[in-house]
Point group: C2
Chain length 300, copies 2
């Protein structure tokens, strides 16, 4: 089995995870969770989202929180999600040097998600690049594997957005399975395809576990050379269209798979499980990750 | 991605699933669940276990139940688990033509599971073959991927038991990940290895989802040519060493993966989900499968 030697894990719990939690998580609890994740060796993290509190109340403390996370760039690559140029300005003001910007592969989902056409989203991306030229931007392509409204997504829709990203000087594209509908064959094909077509672009895959396929899809992507994945501590977050369903792939579940396959990642599983246990204790949400409930066998 | 065109799914919910349920399931409910699974297109099933009620009370109605399942062999390949020659006699008396017999790859687990040494278990297998020569026997090798007591399992332990099986005229060997510890690289290597070493033997993999790796492991096994898997409706059953953890791979989760990858299997997902919903309603156990809670998108 051909696998990368090393994988980059980008923790998205404090962003994608928290934004799906209804009860407000106190800013100091958010900060403690972020700290415990950094202590476990997490080196890449989406720490918050600079959205309007009217859109997502959970992120009302984005500026305060972002300013309180003061690790050096070597210790933690801090990323925030921004929906527009205003959010990008907030990121810069809070000394967050990198942001994720989302456009959906399907018009219908883009409309539902950010109330814009894809063209309008592309224009906003250009505006971010113009107004904050020093800010590093990564492009998340939502519903890249299937859309709850539009169904199957043609490759040309994905190519178009990748093209837009490259034109705007973006170096990293995140292909997101927003509703957890991807299957391993599809994931492998898309991975092979984009790597061949865009050899100079870095691709990260963001795969949900809604149908239990999260790790199988990551495995398929790794077999085609993808070595960067977004996951969430405890499996927090996920698909708002399927209440009760599993969310993101749990970071500790991916770490377990990688550890057993001897793929390195730089995270300490023991400390990560402590962080996940703290999340379970603090955050009012069901954790759907597997490792927290699995027995430990010291000798395996 | 190289995958088999067709996969055989062996439903083990009524055996491996039910035996892990504490509250007794009424015989008529068991029968209804079996019928609903057959209606959904399940063609291979472990319907019960002929064990002493003192060992597993849930299986006290094994004979009554087995005799009530009267599908033709073409419609349903009926299998029962037997721990000894006495159980094999019961199977024959109930017109069950095929049985699973379990030996653990680790001495410690075999002792804990059936209170015998591996040698004693092998002797009992010979006794079954002698006393019931017309009975078809498959050999389950438990803890083949790791043992809660002994840790890692050497390949020679697995080869020894496969050798015993072949010597006894057994055509199908089931490699079982009893505690859900397998990883995809290990699964792929073991699959490739046994297929090469024993080209005339049929291998079925029985993989648990304790650490969320069930489907990833099945994918890895399929990529190495394994085309027969045991799963359980709703994800019932699993690892008694890890209460609260996920159990077997849910049959409907595997069907979903296969459907989306266009691997055929002969099961109707819609009816299977109805059967799983009936199990959720009837059986006092938490179902850990994913598909029951996932949104349906008609257009994907």
């Amino acid at each position: 089995m051909r696998l990368p030697e090393k994988v980059t894990i980008i923790e998205v719990g404090p962003r994608d995870g928290f934004q799906n939690v209804k009860d407000f998580i106190a800013t100091e609890d958010k900060k403690r969770i972020i700290d415990s994740l950094v202590s476990a060796g997490i080196q890449n993290m989406e720490i918050t989202s600079f959205v309007h509190p009217k859109a997502i109340l959970q992120m009302a403390d984005a500026m305060e929180l972002a300013m309180s996370v003061t690790y050096t760039e070597e210790r933690l690559r801090k990323i925030a999600l921004v929906p527009n140029a205003r959010g990008a300005q907030s990121a810069v003001a809070c000394k967050v040097g990198e942001v994720s910007y989302v456009i959906s592969a399907s018009e219908a989902h883009n409309k539902a998600n950010v109330n814009r056409t894809i063209e309008e989203s592309e224009a906003e991306l250009r505006k971010i690049r113009e107004t904050e030229p020093a800010l590093k931007v990564r492009l998340d392509i939502a519903t890249a594997f299937g859309c709850p409204y539009a169904g199957k997504i043609g490759k040309e829709q994905i190519y178009r957005l990748i093209g837009t990203g490259i034109q705007e000087g973006i170096e990293e594209i995140v292909l997101c399975d927003t509703i957890g509908i991807a299957n391993p064959r599809q994931t492998a094909m898309l991975a092979a395809d984009v790597r061949q077509r865009y050899p100079d672009t870095r691709f990260t895959f963001h795969l949900h576990n809604t149908r239990g396929l999260g790790l199988a899809n990551i495995l398929a992507a790794m077999q085609e050379g993808i070595d960067s994945f977004e996951t969430s501590v405890g499996g927090l977050g996920g698909c708002p269209f399927a209440p009760g369903a599993a969310g993101n792939v749990a970071t500790e579940d991916l770490v377990n798979m990688l550890d057993h396959m001897e793929v390195s990642h730089g995270i300490c599983q023991e400390k990560l499980l402590e962080a996940a246990a703290y999340v379970r204790q603090t955050v009012h949400a069901e954790l759907t990750g597997n490792m927290l409930d699995a027995c430990k066998y010291e000798n395996i």
